[in-house]
Symmetry: C2
Subunit: 385 residues, 2 copies
């Protein structure tokens, strides 16, 4: 550490994506010495961060060396293999979240098993390694069945819907051939999808954000409405309590995002992420403390910031890449049409369907906000012009 501010931690973030990029922005205000381990100088965070270490952000040697140069290390993805995390911790590196917590974000079987132990509300599930496992599970819960890779996946996918035994058999065979462990889950008849962000610091302080609604198409989050309109208070409290209990039980440090299904009866835990998450991007413009600042404060073991909102509603829409790479050329229209829209671009190469940014609007009427956010995001993608 420098002599100037002896107690300022040198914080390292593994991975150079947009989550690192936006955490860097938050770190500037906090005056934290923030460093990024990025695989490529053209990575989203590497383009803007003052302290970039280039290296393999999943590899033993580079992560280990990076951790040795930092006081504390956190992550913008969950793809650092467990043996690498173990080696870093054994070498005295301080990981937040730590290896034991990260397992639950890295492996859906480990996660589901732990959720069951905790009694967290969850869809029915079982590990499957043969077609007959899926068929037996479907006998109980009915087709279609959701099949998920516990870790990784193949063909760029980790989730499949099997409508019947033949389809399931193909997926199981393919996964077995690729060495991908699978689990089956009931296809929940949900009303909508929700998410909760909770931050937890090493000594156990938590701060929980309002429950948000996430709007997904083709398994990709397109928009987030914060807070979830019309969600009854009891369900909202149950969702927040579940997120807090999970954060404590898994000993999470930093931000935990819990994606949920809202059903007629309550909420079910769908996925976990132990980092700032797409469903929390709205907090940059819509909350007193953004999820990125909150993550840094938690990881640095500082008291957490107020998670309250600055407007009745905030809507976030992801900007996906379209056919035309010239996004900047479309700013003119979007900004002139709606001076209240907040544009957040990630500096990423434009590829069709890739998340390259997001937009946010705040105000009173969530339907109006959703229309405005969609309009801006659609225009920035540019395919309709």
């Amino acid at each position: 550490m420098s002599e100037r501010n002896r107690t300022v931690p040198r914080m390292g973030m593994v991975g150079g994506g947009q989550l690192s990029r936006m955490t860097h922005q938050a770190g500037i205000a906090l005056g934290i010495d923030f460093s990024v381990l990025a695989a490529d100088p053209r990575d989203s965070a590497a383009r803007v961060c003052g302290d970039v270490v280039l290296g393999d952000d999943r590899g033993l040697d580079d992560v280990l060396a990076f951790a040795k140069a930092c006081d504390v290390v956190t992550f913008d993805h969950e793809h650092v293999p467990e043996p690498v995390l173990r080696a870093v911790e054994e070498a005295g590196g301080l990981l937040r979240p730590g290896r034991r917590a990260l397992r639950f974000a890295q492996d859906k079987l480990v996660m589901r098993t732990r959720m069951a132990e905790l009694g967290a509300p969850s869809p029915a599930w079982r590990a499957v390694s043969a077609p007959e496992h899926v068929d037996a599970f479907a006998d109980e819960h009915g087709w279609p069945i959701v099949l998920k890779a516990a870790r990784g996946g193949y063909d760029g996918k980790g989730v499949w819907i099997a409508d019947g035994p033949e389809e399931a058999a193909v997926i199981v065979a393919r996964a077995a051939a690729e060495g991908v462990p699978l689990l089956a889950e009931e296809k929940v008849g949900f009303r909508r999808e929700l998410a909760v962000q909770v931050a937890r610091s090493p000594h156990g302080q938590v701060a929980v954000y309002p429950v948000v609604e996430t709007l997904q198409r083709d398994g990709i989050c397109h928009e987030v409405i914060a807070p979830a309109p019309g969600l009854d208070e009891e369900k909202a409290t149950r969702a927040q309590q579940a997120a807090i209990e999970i954060a404590h039980a898994l000993d999470v440090t930093g931000v935990l995002a819990v994606e949920m299904f809202e059903t007629a009866e309550g909420v079910l835990v769908n996925e976990l992420a132990m980092r700032p998450h797409n469903s929390g991007h709205w907090t940059i413009d819509g909350a007193v403390t953004s999820q990125f600042e909150q993550h840094l404060r938690a990881v640095a073991n500082l008291p957490l910031g107020a998670p309250g909102t600055v407007a009745p509603y905030t809507v976030m829409a992801n900007v996906l890449g379209g056919a035309d790479p010239d996004v900047y050329g479309r700013y003119l229209h979007v900004m002139a049409k709606d001076p209240g829209v907040k544009v957040h671009m990630y500096g990423k190469d434009v590829r069709p369907g890739r998340k390259i940014g997001h937009v946010t609007v705040t105000g009173d009427d969530h339907r109006d906000l959703l229309a405005r956010a969609r309009d801006a995001a659609d225009y920035l993608r540019g395919d309709d012009q």
Copy 2:
């Protein structure tokens, strides 16, 4: 420009201070390629910015080379000499604001002359180069008299209060010896000090922020309350209109800060700055579009963002350096005591009295907010512990 986004401008900011640092943060969200010309790698912006050019941020060769590598250049201070600005423009460099506009922020005599031509409400003033000029001015307006260096100053000062002829004579003699041109101004019996930020783009769009109250001690801005409490609407409108008229008349591009005095009758223009300004730092947390984003949008010739507020009141307090350089060690108390306070540190070496950061709070009751902001800023300075 890169092939990736052909139309993204490479924006350069001359000067590596906190204004560049906070503009860099805003540039990340806009996905603008942002570069800083900094004198020292330890400068506030140089510590965090991904694209730092080291060089003399007032010198011909370095500013010229920097401008050649950028599509458009702006400034975090007004200290680049006029001949350097001229050489850059003659070489085809695009300066925003341009040399002709910057003169009015660089030379108080030029500024006062132009304000008089415009009929902008101003204190009485005259150029003085001999003690008898001051005495004659004082005969008309009464002692004490304010003496200002038109450019620069000496002993680190540019403004003096002369209580009588003897004091004035000493200041005039000293200024003459140092080659510093002086002007005399009446000492306005103001109720309070105000400031207005207005952004103007090259094609003449303007966006004006609410009029704020600035609280100064020993000539240093300590706190800002936005909007100015209890300011009557007519005065507020007159202040905003004056700022807009000045921005147009001086052909300003970017943010113009107009510091004013509120008197019984109206408002008087005190100082101009053509860049993001301390009196506008509240906009980061308190406005839909921060002054830093607004400055970038104006300089990049993008449509301006909404300047509206996100809360009834926002209060900003500067954090000054104290005797103890370990500011970070004091975060724990400030953040635990008030989770709603927003901390913005500049990564600067701590020296007593130096602005090293600011804090902001938003809410309904400006008195409560001022107390909270002062408390946080005082504690971060640390002298009372």
